[in-house]
Symmetry: C2
Subunit: 201 residues, 2 copies
């Protein structure tokens, strides 16, 4: 992406600021006023330059400015589910407590946030009350931290494959290892834990 002239950068900054403050982009004339111009042509040219250089996209219509790489693109929003997805790895919208922003690279198809209860994974730095980002992958590999549904209840554990059996291992030695032979169905994997948020340190 090419460099911007100082004036073009002023325009881009103003667009971003307006976007941040108002929630919608400025009109061409608002840009003029902000930069002390009396003609719309000046701002127009700057917008054309910004588009040519790839910093923004424009669509026909009023205020139809899209900022590429803007703040909006930096965030993904994940639902914090009250209960763990049951059935076919889906969460009903009624169970969504709230949507929280996370860094965009944490986002992904079907990912969601789950509040961890208990201290069984304290050895991996996962504490009671932490929010974990869960990727509903169909397959989890040996050694990964997963969300498992045991008797309908969700627990976070480390997965260990032992031949045909699967073990769910807590990182707190006070907790027992749950061993499941292949074919037994009381345990289901809801996904694997890929990231973590902690609100109170």
């Amino acid at each position: 992406m090419r460099e911007l002239t100082p004036r073009q950068e002023e325009v881009l900054d103003f667009v971003l600021e307006k976007l941040e403050r108002s929630g919608y982009p400025p009109s061409v004339r608002e840009i003029c006023e902000a930069l002390g111009m009396s003609s719309t042509r000046g701002a127009q040219r700057h917008l054309e330059a910004l588009e040519r250089k790839g910093f923004i996209s424009r669509a026909p219509g009023a205020r139809a400015i899209q900022v590429r790489g803007g703040l909006r693109e930096a965030a993904a929003y994940l639902p914090l589910v009250g209960e763990v997805p049951a059935g076919p790895l889906r969460y009903a919208s009624e169970e969504v407590e709230e949507w929280l922003p996370v860094p965009a690279r944490w986002g992904g198809r079907g990912r969601f946030l789950l509040r961890v209860r208990g201290d069984s994974m304290i050895g991996d730095g996962i504490k009671d009350g932490d929010l974990v980002v869960v990727d509903p992958s169909p397959e989890a590999e040996d050694g990964e931290v997963v969300v498992a549904l045991v008797d309908g209840e969700a627990t976070v554990k480390r997965l260990r494959r032992r031949g045909r059996a699967v073990e769910l291992v807590a990182s707190n030695p006070a907790y027992p290892v749950l061993r499941v032979e292949r074919g037994e169905a009381e345990v289901r994997l809801a996904g694997k834990v890929v990231a973590l948020l902690r609100e109170r340190v």
Copy 2:
């Protein structure tokens, strides 16, 4: 905030969807088209209702719709600083690696993100590579987790006040306690740790 009628909710949903998809709000006529109306008055009335009930704000001008409690308001953006703030608790913009979105309630004046190095706080579930949210409070109380500058280097430790002295305690027993008597100046507090992000679990 009063409840919305089903139709009003449809309008609000469409506005949010358009905002998410395009980066700018829809025009009244776009709302009409989306909801299958042939007159702008219908959408107009819904927007008036949404404003009356406090879900949106409107300003004169095209597409000047602000959604209260929209996605944008849910996020705050904090800078990830490469090095710890030196001097008067400020970070130079050159040191900012990137800006990351976090839940809005994590934001606040002067807060920033810092990457934790080492495993000295493993006992508190703070691992190597974690990003901590630092609030540059002037005062930290006994028992709080703080970022301290020791010989110009940043470390995360738990603060313990012992009369006139201050102790910086690691939660990994392998590390020694750093004791500082009042008046000694080689230790300075950069702020306290209020939240945490972990990118790899």
